[in-house]
Every structure is written in C-alpha cells, then in structure tokens.
Symmetry: C2
Subunit: 301 residues, 2 copies
Amino acid sequence: MSLLVTGSIAIDTVKTPHGISEDCIGGSAVYFSMAASFFSPVRLVGAVGSDCPFDLAKIFAGRDIDLTGLEVRKNSKTFRWAGSYRENMDERTTDYIELNVLAEEPPEVPVEFRDSKFVFLANTTPNLQLKLLNQIDKPAFVAADTMDCWIEGHPEDLKTLLKKINCLIINEDEARLLAKEHNLMKAAEKILDIGTNVVVIKKGKSGSLMCNAEDDIFILPAYPAAEVKDPTGAGDSFAGGFMGYLAQSSDTNFAALKKAVAYGTVTASFTIADFSLNGLTSIEKADIDGRFESLRKFTIF
Amino acid sequence: MSLLVTGSIAIDTVKTPHGISEDCIGGSAVYFSMAASFFSPVRLVGAVGSDCPFDLAKIFAGRDIDLTGLEVRKNSKTFRWAGSYRENMDERTTDYIELNVLAEEPPEVPVEFRDSKFVFLANTTPNLQLKLLNQIDKPAFVAADTMDCWIEGHPEDLKTLLKKINCLIINEDEARLLAKEHNLMKAAEKILDIGTNVVVIKKGKSGSLMCNAEDDIFILPAYPAAEVKDPTGAGDSFAGGFMGYLAQSSDTNFAALKKAVAYGTVTASFTIADFSLNGLTSIEKADIDGRFESLRKFTIF
C-alpha cells in the first residue's frame, strides 16, 4: 500500500571518533525514504532552499521514491544541522542548527498523494504535523515522531496529534519526558492513555519496546553490530524499515507490528555502520533479510 | 545434577529511593542459592563470623539447600556491605565494606561436595576461586563471576582461572575492562580468546548477551518489570537461575544455555522487586515459569 513521509531534507555535518562528514545529505525524510524504499514505494513530501547542493533524483535513482512532493523554494535556504558524537557514541552535541526552510510554512501534500494509506510524520511542530495530516484523505495507519522541545513547548498540540495518529515512535528520554515517568513500561501506558493506539520506544543500544492499548508487549534487543561509525539517521531509518514493512504487508495487527520493529531494527543497524546514507546505499534487500533472520536466531529460546 | 556455589554471606544495609533495609541478609552465595533452589538442589560453601545474626537453616527452610559447607568461625566477623542507589537505580555507591571473614582463607569444600558437577564460583580473588575449584574432583560445567579490582589487580590469576572454567558471567563494564574494548561484541570475542568457552555479559536494564567459542550468539532484553525497589542481588540471582536451570536439565549445549539465560533473567526480575531476599521468598516456581513464558511471548516475532 502507498506510503507517504513528511519530514526534513538536511545538509549535515557530522563528527564522530571515526571521522568527519561535511555537508553531506541528511534529514528525517531522506533517511526514512531510503530505508522504507527497500520494502515499499515511497512518496516524499519536503522542502529545500535554492542552495540545496543535492540532486535527490540522482541520490534515489533506482529506488521507487516519488519526489512529486519535493518543493524547491527559490528564496529559502535548506535546513542545516551539525553534530558531534563522543568517544562511546552514546551522547551527541548539536554544534549548530539552521532551521531555514523548516521554519516556514510546511510543503503542500500533492493532490496525487492524498490517497496515501500509510503515513509517517517525521519530527516537527505538532501543529505542522496536524496540518500535513489533514491533507491526507483517509489514512489507514499514521505514525509520528516528536522531540523534547515540542513535548515541553507545545504539549496541547501534541496531545491533539496523539489522538489522531495510530502510532508514536519516540526515544526513551522523550517517552519519559512526555509521560513524566521514569519507568518505561509505566511511561508507555501513560502515553497510550493520552491517545495513540501503539507506542514504540527506541532505546538505542538497548533495543526497543512496543506496547499497544490492548496490553500487548514486544521487546527486542538492538542488532549486535560490531561496527558503529555514525549513529545519525538511526531513528529515521528505524521508522523507515518499520513503516516500509507495514506498507508492504498491508497489515497492522500486533504480529505484523512486531516484524516491523525487527525490520526497523536491522535497517537502522546498516545506517550506523557508515556516514550519511552510505550504510544504506551499499546494501541490498537481501542483506536486510539476512540480518532479520539472524536477529530472530539470536533472540529465540 | 549436583550444583555447588562458593561465595559470600553478608550483612547488608541498602538504601534506595523506596526505603532502607538495615542489617538484612545478603551476599552472593545467599542470593545464588535461593535463586538456584527453584530449579535444583544446591550445595553452599561459605563462611560467617560468630556475630552472624542469621539462621540460614531457617531462612532456607523448605528449600533443598545443603549447608554442610557453611563454616561459622568463632574468632571472625561476618562480611558487611552497605550501598545506596540513586533516583533512577542505575548507579550505586558503596557506603562501606568490611571484608572480615572474606579476607581470611576460603572455606573448605566438604568431602561429600567434591563430586559436584555444576559449580559457580562467585566473585572473590581469582586465586581463591582457583583454590576452591581445585577441591572439586571432576566438575562438568564451571561458571565464575569477577569484578573490576581483580581484573585490574590480578590479571594473570584471572587469565589462569579463565582457562579452567567453562563460562564467565560478568557485567558490561567489567567485560569492557577485561577486554580493553568498548564494543561488547568485540569484547566478548576477546574474552573467549583468553580462555573460557562461554561468556555471558549482563547489561542490567538492557538485558544480556551470550557468546561462545563456536560463534553462537544470544541476546535477550531484560524482563520489562514495572517495579524495581532494590537491584541488590540481581546479578547473583541471575547466575542462580542460570546455573540452577543447567543443573536441572543436565545439559550445556547452546539451546540449554539460551534457556538458562532466560531463566536467569526472569529470576532476577523477582529479586529486584523487593528488598533483600523478599522478592524471591514470596514467589513459587510457577511464577518464574510464568515470566519465562511471558518473556518468550514478548520477544518472539
């Protein structure tokens, strides 16, 4: 089924103990689209400025990613982000952030995308996420991401959003902040009480936790990757693998959601093995399937 | 099959955000024995001083724990430990430690225990662990724990020990210190290169990782416990559930080791739900089996 993503296209500069990647392609919609395209056709909605040095059509060549929703704004500048990771890759510092086009009105969802059934609203203000969602006719499954500044700064908008989506995908610190609860099992319950039917909590190296309103629980370790060069994009790649698998299977029961978490996990494990999109552009779908089967073998008892 | 543990019997004082437990029963051999006794008869080898306020026979009443190897030393004092856990339970501070009887010669393994087939050498100097192990005639499967001060202070003794045991059970910081490697997959490989055939790395809230010399891998999340009151004894309870299951099944192939890790995980999840031994004394084997099946259900995809 059709899968639409709204999110950022970024010019990233990333420093890790393994090296520096300057002015490389990044952004939530980019990582998501690349990851999801292994599973399903993707419709991208996003905006860049006239300074954007990337040819997305070329970057996505050979993949079924529809760029009809890509707006190039003549008088705007592209979103820029720079970050540094410390020695153990657990913590990162934002070196600078230039919102640029992200601070403007969101892009329009093209008419031909409005029948999309699976929708991922990458991280931006909840109000913009709602505006984007309102442009979709009758979505079957909507997932969204958020972050600390919207949880703290726009809690009412976020609550409205949570009531309109099916699934929230956030990291553990955000879950604790949103639920005002340290224990993640209790935090998940509290988030489900606010609105969404499914919550996926990403714990980085510690894997992930998924709960739904029917009290189903799924916990999965991270893929045991020996190589971590750059964690940037891991979360959006996870979401891409997750939503890509769901759109491909056209199913959203808990069994399908569990497989989707596993696909998200292994897809992200390739992203972090190299800088920018290199970890994803250098693999085939068979590599993802291989790690999916390995992860199943590593965890079954 | 017969299961023997050598380790400490302690007078613990523990402070957590949930309360204080003063002069309560603790120690590696105590937690281990209680946990393992759900699965298999246990032979305890340990020493206390004449000041020991606990009647171990009464504490272990109704459980198949043989105290023939318990030495009460008239002119010695019992090991004491006091620790405090911070708000999020992730870090603890040792408030005081009095080695007392632990600083003396180790207890003797009684003649009738020398035919033990499964042996757990709880944390003490590697040299003492070797002395204890040498008193066992022909063990089938020996596991040991260690800690930072022996890794740094007695590396050669520890290497000798590793070559004589089948399995090392340590936490992630200890694994990194021993292997001089931050990445846990690589650390596990390096530890296996030193000597033991199996390494189990405990990651607390993040679950555990097991690798063997044949390149088998097992990763398991922690049990998603909503209640954590006192993490003291979690590691020794894990080891007790792990070794208890192996002794019960008389099997040590990788499939059995995986189930043993799962049993260790769920047994420890009960320990941390209350102070001292209360989390373990208040349950039945059926509760452990229930969480074992739940953990399987939570992780399968």
